[in-house]
Amino acid sequence: MVAFTNSQLYPYQQGTDAPCDAPGVWCDMAAMVDADLYGLSQTLGRINPAIPTAKISRSTSLSVPLPFGALISFEAVNWDTDNMVDFDRSPFRIVPNRLGEYLVTGWVTVVGGASAGRGVSLEIVTGFAGSDGTGGFTGGGPGDTLRFATGDQFFRTATIFRVSTPPTLGFGLLLRIDDVGATVTKADFTAYWISDRTSN
């Protein structure tokens, strides 16, 4: 009588089974193994060789308005493995398609304006649907200070975000500077998926 393996229930003949029945049992087993291997390969295709990740950047000057700052607009897509960036839709955002946990990091070069000692905050934000404004959840963004009125100064932020509900407005990089005439001369913004997250 045909028996079955413990976990995957693959069929196999036992000693008293008719030899002429072997091809049928064999093909049933092979079909089940094929289906399991295919399922694994589909899962592996989500993580190998690439995961969802995108990096956008700008290298031209951008004035930072007072007093609430602004989302940085970007000009170039360094890479995008999962159609997360569409500058026609929004030059401010990386919009994840896959649910899960994302590591998001931003880095900017700022040239000061008229005065030193001004507060600076670089934050990663998610906004509400239909808006490119600030709001939603923010991450990173430790308080810092624009110490000098001139010269390059560098700020960075990073945090992990949970994306649990599609669609999402995505991630943006918000810079607040309390300094007249400050400009961003360079900015990089990256998001990459680090894991799935099962819902509670």
Partner: protein, 210 residues
């Protein structure tokens, strides 16, 4: 003989049972090849190439008119899950083990050896550059500058950024240079307080399965 839909696993036709041992061998080898390939993919995801270096000596000290160029060799590597020639990090080629997307970062504590001048800068410049026919080209920067307090415990700071390393991965270098503005005394990067790390995020190819 018949074959399964996805992996072409062989199974005998009803009249083939005399050749079962041969078909069994073929099936076993096909399954083994598929499983080995999947194991390799799992391993590549579970263990992305990652290295961490730490300074095992004081770096510096230097005056406010000098600069400190950092290099890390195999002896300073405190963690690595890959071997080969890519065991050093500095203004020389060979750091990256393969093409792909990488996340790099650093952290340090700049300590004054004497008096502290409050509000003077401590700056680390961090570049990934590629050697080309036209010279070195910046492909990523993760500079950071902070300003000293008068407390004298040093200044902890760091930065990170991501970079695409293309197929010419052996032509990339990582450059780190520290400078400061403390005029009253020299500043050093004290032993065991400077870390540099890199980890491979993955390929820049479009993902295959949503």
């Amino acid at each position: 003989m018949e074959f399964t839909e996805h992996f072409g696993l062989a199974c005998p036709s009803p009249t083939d049972y005399a050749a079962l041992p041969l078909y069994m061998q073929r099936l076993a080898e096909q399954i083994e090849d598929a499983v080995i390939e999947q194991q390799a993919q799992i391993s590549a995801f579970q263990r992305p190439p990652t290295s961490i270096w730490k300074n095992d000596t004081n770096l510096g000290p230097i005056s406010n008119t000098g600069f400190l160029q950092l290099t890390f060799g195999p002896a300073q590597r405190v963690f690595a899950n890959y071997g080969g020639a890519s065991q050093s990090l500095g203004p020389f080629t060979g750091t990256f083990p393969s093409a792909g997307l990488y996340h790099l970062g650093w952290a340090t504590n700049a300590r004054e050896v004497g008096a502290v001048n409050a509000d003077t800068f401590r700056q680390m410049r961090f570049w990934v550059q590629k050697q080309t026919a036209g010279g070195l080209v910046d492909v990523m920067t993760a500079h950071r500058v902070v300003y000293a307090t008068a407390a004298g415990f040093g200044e902890y700071f760091g930065a990170d950024n991501t970079v695409l390393i293309d197929d010419e991965f052996s032509q990339y270098i990582v450059r780190m240079e520290f400078t400061h503005g403390n005029t009253s005394s020299q500043v050093q990067l004290t032993i065991n307080e400077t870390f540099v790390w890199l980890t491979r995020i993955g390929s820049s190819d479009a993902i295959e399965v949503a």
